[in-house]
Structures are given as structure tokens and as C-alpha cells.
């Protein structure tokens, strides 16, 4: 399935490369888009972006691991009742402490 789907993509790109018009673009045509101005800076020339994205990615890793721990628990839950319930509560409680800390630190405020 993966092979076929990737194959479709490759075939499409190849077909377009073969069938499309092959002109050498002028310098201005191949310039990066910047609302009609000459582009300033570019990739790797010290372009900065907000640290928020980094924080969100970190939080995602933490909470996604939480989710990963939760899946086996959820699937086996009915066999582990009622002990599993208190386990789950404890685990979520610990994570909630971290979550509240994040909220208080205003990590999730974008301004």
C-alpha cells in the first residue's frame, strides 16, 4: 500500500517533469515570492521564528508519550477494574500538575 501510494506521487511528479514545458526560467521568475519586492534573507541566513513553536513541540512530545502510555491501559481497562482506575487517576493527576504549571507559566499564551 505504501509502495503504491508513494509510487503514485513519484509517477505524477515524473509525468509532470516530462510533459510540462521545459523553459529555462529567468532569474526574476525563479526568485522567492515576497509580494513583488526583492526577497531579503532566506533559509539559513539568520531567519528567526518565535520560541513558542519549540515549546509547543516539547509539550507535544510529553503529552504524546502520555497518550502512548494510556493506550494499553485503555485497551486492557475492563480486565483491570477497579485497580486500573486509581492507577489512571494517579497518572493523570501527576500530569495535571505539570499542565497547571504550564498554564501558570503562560506558555500557552500567544501574544
Amino acid at each position: 500500500m505504501l509502495l503504491v501510494s508513494l509510487g503514485i506521487g513519484i509517477v505524477a511528479v515524473l509525468a509532470s517533469a516530462l510533459l510540462g514545458p521545459k523553459r529555462r526560467g529567468s532569474r526574476t521568475k525563479l526568485m522567492a515570492y515576497e509580494s513583488g519586492n526583492d526577497p531579503e534573507g532566506g533559509v539559513g541566513t539568520g531567519q528567526r521564528f518565535p520560541v513558542h513553536f519549540y515549546l509547543v513541540a516539547m509539550l507535544f512530545i510529553i503529552f504524546d508519550i502520555e497518550t502512548a502510555f494510556f493506550y494499553p491501559l485503555a485497551v486492557a481497562y475492563q480486565k483491570l477494574i477497579p485497580f486500573a482506575f486509581f492507577e489512571a487517576i494517579t497518572f493523570v493527576g501527576l500530569l495535571l500538575v505539570g499542565y497547571v504549571y504550564i498554564l501558570k507559566k503562560r506558555v500557552l499564551e500567544w501574544n
Binding site: A32, T67, A74, Y77, Q78, I81, N111
Partner: protein, 391 residues
């Protein structure tokens, strides 16, 4: 012909069929979307190319293949070309695991390409691989708007992926399996899961809108704000591949919602009383449900304005995530305190269904209040230490 070769050929054939089917659906989906948007805005939509505009998708496809394929000077050639291929590959692969009928109902073969016991996990993994395609595409373009769009997109998608993963935990607790087959089977005996998990479904729906970058969460490609986001530097077929990936993701999300919450390929069981066997008609029910959700996607697009970026992130992290956790705990509590295996005592599931529905209703009733709460501009006091800047 040896046995393994036959199996391989058959699954290859099925994969090709699924891919072609999805691509056709994508093509006509664009047409249907444009016509429906037209209807909703009291105008006809495309109706010139072929009868009722039916040849419009073909014209679009041919055009995008014959267009000039630009390679921008600053772009990283390899990644720039690979990104759309990754995006479309992952989007198409994710669909193959969904069952479209009982075993052996497709001319004696199984109506799915691959069947995993951890089907939901595989699906979540594949959809998160789609983030790579979009972000790498944005990065490799070597220009500012694509990078902004790519960053926004990846942050948004990973945030809502959490909501997505957590909102189905309650469902998994009820069902006790992650394979799509068992979930469909469970719903055939016990009733559709939306009855027990109304809140979970609402959260899943919101998350899947955000996952597929559709309005009201389509900030990564907000034309009026950052040109076309990660698509800015793409032309011809690569652009079309990204669009394709988005629409295929929509179709997959609809199919997943239908499978998880609306009984999958089985129709409502009570209809069996009227016409025996009607709820087992292959494919028809699944296609109907997918069509309904696709219509919902278009309808919402024509109705709701876009969120601002900070609103979007706040919505994801402060509303969807805690509510999904609350839903999980609520389900766990009801399961734990209605006795051992309490669910299968007659009447008991309704406790959970009612609780879930009540929570959803409370949320809807409070939504105005919640909105004012969430939309309050961040107050900046003098001398307060702030983290970083915004975008």
C-alpha cells in the same frame, strides 16, 4: 502460481484500486465542493466543462500535469520534490487499513488492503507523518511565507493530534481493542458508539477538522494572511499533490469517524426488521456515511470564519485537551463503578451515554461564556516577564 505470490498480487491490485478510487473521489470532491459552495452562496458553480461541470476535474488534472514545473532558486531541490510525495503517500496509505465490509465480501476477497490489530495506532502514526510532508515542503521552499505556514501548520497539527489521540481513549476503554474490525463488530451488537461517547465524538470531530487544515482551522494556508502558506512556492503537479493529500486526509478522517462512532460499514440494525439484511449491504453504508461527513466539511467551510492563531492554539490546548482527559476519566469512572464488567448489564451503558451527552450539552450551552473567556486579549502588565514573541 504459488500461494504467497497470489496473495501479494491480490493485495497489490487492491492497493491500486483503493488509490485510484481515492484519487477519483478527490477529483470529484473538488467539483462537489465548488458546486456546493456555489449553491450556498446563491451562484451556480462550475457548469461549463462537460454536463453539470462533470469534466472540470479532468480539465484541472490535465492542466496541472502540463504546467511548467518551477524550481525556485533558493529551494532545496531534493526535499522540495520529495515533500509532496511524502504528503500524498502517507495520506493514501492511511486509508488502506479501514474495513469496507465483512471478510470476503469483495468478490471473495477481503475489502481492505491491510488489517492490523493496532489499526488506530497505525492510522494516527500515518497521519502524523503527513506533518513531515507539509513542514518539509514549507522549509524547502526557501522563502518566508512557506516557512511561516509550515511552522504554523506543524504546531497546529501536533497540538490537535493530542486531542485526537486522547478523545478516543474513552471509546477504547469501552471496546477494549484497537482493531477497526472489532470496533465495528462491537457496535453491531451494542449500538453506535456515538450514543456512549457524544463528547468524545465532538472533540474528535473538532480535532480532525484541525488535523486536515480545513476551515475554521485553515491558518497554514490562509490566503488573506500569509499568501498560501507552505504552498506559496509550489506550482503544477506538486501543488496538486499537496491539495490531493489534504482532500484524501479529509476522506480518511470521514471514514474514521464513520467507523469509530457511526457503526462503520454496518447500517442501523433496526432497519433489518423492515428489509432483512439491509444493514449488511456492502460498501453502501460506509460510502453514505463518508459522503455525509464530507458534506459537513464543506458546509462548515461555507459557514464559519477562520480563527486567529492564538485563539486556535488556546482552543486546542486549553479546551480540547482537558476535555478529552475529562472524558477519559469520566468513562473510566463509570466503567469502574458500575461493577465488574458492569457495561454488559442491561441498561448500564445508558448511564455513560447520558453523562456524555449531558457534558456535551453543557458545553454547548456554556459556549458563549467559554468564548468570551477564551477570547479575552492577553493582558500585558507593565514589568511582567513574557516568554518570547508571537508570530
Amino acid at each position: 502460481m504459488p500461494d504467497w505470490l497470489a496473495t501479494l498480487l491480490i493485495s497489490l491490485l487492491k492497493a491500486v484500486l483503493v488509490v485510484l478510487g481515492l484519487l477519483t473521489t478527490f477529483a470529484y470532491m473538488t467539483l462537489v465542493e465548488r458546486r456546493l459552495l456555489g449553491r450556498m452562496q446563491l451562484r451556480p458553480g462550475p457548469n461549463r466543462v462537460g454536463p453539470m461541470g462533470l469534466l472540470q476535474p479532468a480539465a484541472d488534472a490535465i492542466k496541472s500535469i502540463f504546467k511548467e514545473d518551477l524550481n525556485v532558486t533558493l529551494a532545496d531541490k531534493l526535499v522540495y520534490t520529495l515533500a509532496p510525495i511524502v504528503a500524498i503517500g502517507m495520506a493514501l496509505t492511511a486509508f488502506g487499513g479501514l474495513p469496507a465490509g465483512p471478510a470476503g465480501s469483495l468478490f471473495g476477497e477481503n475489502p481492505w488492503v491491510y488489517n492490523l490489530d493496532a489499526g488506530i495506532l497505525a492510522l494516527l502514526a500515518l497521519t502524523s507523518m503527513g506533518v513531515y510532508g507539509i513542514f518539509l515542503g514549507g522549509w524547502a521552499s526557501g522563502s518566508k511565507y512557506p516557512i511561516l505556514g509550515g511552522l504554523r501548520s506543524s504546531a497546529q497539527m501536533i497540538s490537535y493530534e493530542l486531542g485526537m489521540g486522547l478523545s478516543i481513549l474513552g471509546l477504547l476503554m469501552l471496546v477494549g481493542t484497537t482493531s477497526f474490525h472489532s470496533i465495528v463488530g462491537w457496535q453491531a451488537t451494542n449500538g453506535w458508539l456515538i450514543l456512549f461517547q457524544a463528547l468524545g465524538f465532538a472533540l474528535f470531530l473538532i480535532s480532525s477538522f484541525a488535523e486536515t487544515n480545513r476551515t475554521p482551522f485553515d491558518l497554514p494556508e490562509a490566503e488573506q494572511e500569509i499568501v498560501a502558506g507552505y504552498l506559496t512556492e509550489y506550482s503544477a503537479i506538486k501543488w496538486a499533490l499537496f491539495q490531493m493529500a489534504e482532500y484524501v486526509n479529509m476522506i480518511t478522517a470521514s471514514a474514521v469517524m464513520a467507523t469509530l462512532f457511526f457503526g462503520g460499514w454496518k447500517g442501523p440494525q433496526f432497519l433489518n426488521g423492515l428489509i432483512p439484511g439491509i444493514s449488511d449491504w456492502p460498501l453502501i453504508w460506509l460510502i453514505l456515511k463518508i459522503a455525509f461527513f464530507l458534506f459537513l466539511f464543506i458546509w462548515v467551510r461555507a459557514t464559519l470564519p477562520r480563527l486567529r492563531y492564538d485563539q486556535l492554539m488556546r482552543f486546542g490546548w486549553k479546551l480540547v485537551l482537558p476535555l478529552a482527559l475529562a472524558n477519559t476519566i469520566m468513562t473510566a469512572a463509570v466503567l469502574a463503578f458500575s461493577g465488574p464488567f458492569g457495561l454488559w448489564k442491561p441498561g448500564n451503558p445508558w448511564v455513560m451515554g447520558l453523562l456524555s451527552l449531558a457534558a456535551l450539552l453543557a458545553l454547548l450551552l456554556m459556549s458563549d461564556r467559554v468564548r468570551t473567556l477564551w477570547n479575552q486579549p492577553t493582558v500585558r502588565r507593565e514589568g511582567e516577564v513574557r516568554l518570547g514573541g508571537g508570530d
